[in-house]
Symmetry: C3
Amino acid sequence: MSARVELAFEGAVARVSLCHPGKFNAMSRSMWRDLKTSFDAIQQRTDLRCVVVSGKGGHFCAGGDIAEYPAFRFNEVTLREFHESDVWGGLEAMLLCDVPIVAQIDGNCMGAGVEIASCCDIRVAGVSAKFGAPIARLGFPMAPREAQLVAGAVGDLTAREMLLEAAVLDAPMMLVRGFLNSVMADAEVAGEALTRAHRIAALAPQATRLNKQTFREFRRPHAMADGSFYATESIVSQAYAYADSAEHREGIGAFLDKRKPVF
Amino acid sequence: MSARVELAFEGAVARVSLCHPGKFNAMSRSMWRDLKTSFDAIQQRTDLRCVVVSGKGGHFCAGGDIAEYPAFRFNEVTLREFHESDVWGGLEAMLLCDVPIVAQIDGNCMGAGVEIASCCDIRVAGVSAKFGAPIARLGFPMAPREAQLVAGAVGDLTAREMLLEAAVLDAPMMLVRGFLNSVMADAEVAGEALTRAHRIAALAPQATRLNKQTFREFRRPHAMADGSFYATESIVSQAYAYADSAEHREGIGAFLDKRKPVF
Amino acid sequence: MSARVELAFEGAVARVSLCHPGKFNAMSRSMWRDLKTSFDAIQQRTDLRCVVVSGKGGHFCAGGDIAEYPAFRFNEVTLREFHESDVWGGLEAMLLCDVPIVAQIDGNCMGAGVEIASCCDIRVAGVSAKFGAPIARLGFPMAPREAQLVAGAVGDLTAREMLLEAAVLDAPMMLVRGFLNSVMADAEVAGEALTRAHRIAALAPQATRLNKQTFREFRRPHAMADGSFYATESIVSQAYAYADSAEHREGIGAFLDKRKPVF
């Protein structure tokens, strides 16, 4: 019924399902917190060998839940809290997970969907899947940690195309751009994701966790002494000053009013 | 008439045109200074929303203006001044620009052309466009800041192929290599660049500038405390000692004499 | 006869041949030391302009010589010595080489083969070549410096697919992934590698060495004051604690017993 992230186990494979009926699994604040809870739980389970992340109802995730935005986005303090605590809390839990994560990408994979997929180790998608982060239509930028995560996964060229031009790219192009491991008929995506998960689950689990820990080190900015991930503190400190701007209000207001924004 | 970079405005879209008749828009020293002046002016204009960079007469840019080289390249002081002040001055002004930049790439995109295109956010090219940096034929290496810029945009593999082998790659291969957003019939490139510029211009301008500032942070080497871009100071300090070498003189001399260099 | 790395010279082009008859050129400890000796010798020769690395008998390199593993892998001290001294000694000698290196990749290019190819500047492969690092089947992870090297060359997505899923990719896919400069009929690979080597050898040699030195700087982690390459010391210090684990013993034991490992 309500927006939620479900966690289920089938032997050594965990299934994390994004579920927000009627909104293509758009991430609400509580779903971000569910995401963190799910991956924190996965990280505690030493018997798990693979995680599959997917969306319910034929889509991966359409972005954020814009209906919630007026309640917190126009105040710098609550906007920062949303991005740095709720969103990054969920994404960081995925990045800190030592168990391999397979993204099963059906349908829409936009905004938060691209961010969640960027935290996965393996990404398979159906030929009809669509990728983008068209938040410039909504009057706001991508938060720095999230932008650095996405740019690292889709590449600098594609991240700029998605954010500066609000471009939406199809799955075959995202294969060329290096974001996807394979693209197949839509009906085969779930099976392919599970096949890969079982292949991973049959391999040496300690070696796999050590490999993930090693890969994680490469992403860590070398000069940051506090152990924090990704974007530098200086840019993060100023990142949310746009909260109360006219542009931000116009973008989100127009979406909710179902009219075209005027920037 | 003479070598120049033209700056024009059409509403919220600026057009920067590389123009050097008879030389496929090869960049003279004054053109590099023009490039900086143009982008400094663009950066001051808070009403601009997109820039299109293109070349006049069916080519983007064929490289540097080799006819000027004997006047300054064989002395380490003047060579360093050329690269660190003229060339990097122009490129850095592009990199510091908060307005999205679309590269419209027709025909030759070589050497300085690849460097200028590497500073753009979106790159579209005609199917006949050619890319490379065959300066090993001219007896000199790429300056470190420029090499780091280009390697970041074309990828390490392609940068080595261009510089170590003097390879020239076509547009479809540069799409595979991740340098281009799209490749189309030559006659459609100008229209495609403008369409993308107008799409960008209709989006939220403050969000766009914030996104560009965030992307810029990712490129900054984390350990450099002085805020300078790209290559480390240690390598830059020694980068121009080859100025008076026989090889450097032979490469440029042979080109100007229209004979094959002997290295 | 025995496992060896051969070094030969044809004018300004050196040929490094991996040779381990009957084992698809799997790298023994002595071959890693030979590799270092060969590239140290190449680096001393100021007259050389290109190196071609290839394998004997239709394969590049199938990985490590697993028959040797029980003698040293299950003790943390000797395991560390193998990776940090023998393997990294050979790879670092390649990375420190100022002469351009062309990889001629025929047949199997697995594990150590991918690592050696990742140290090359230009990589050409036959359409039948296969790439991977399926050491998770053998119960151990990739050493950190090696993983960082490989991830930098094949990309983060492909490195995770190779290591976490033990995936084997074919040459056309590795072209898409950005690891290969070109793919051709198997019979043409040797000729293509030599053609590229001769093209490089005809170009300006001082400029080429300066370009390689510049590229090397980009790979150096900016925060590391000791000048060491790649992975941070903290992760390297803990990297070999798995030596005596049951999983490690099972993986290698099962391979040598020709049975399927149970993890």
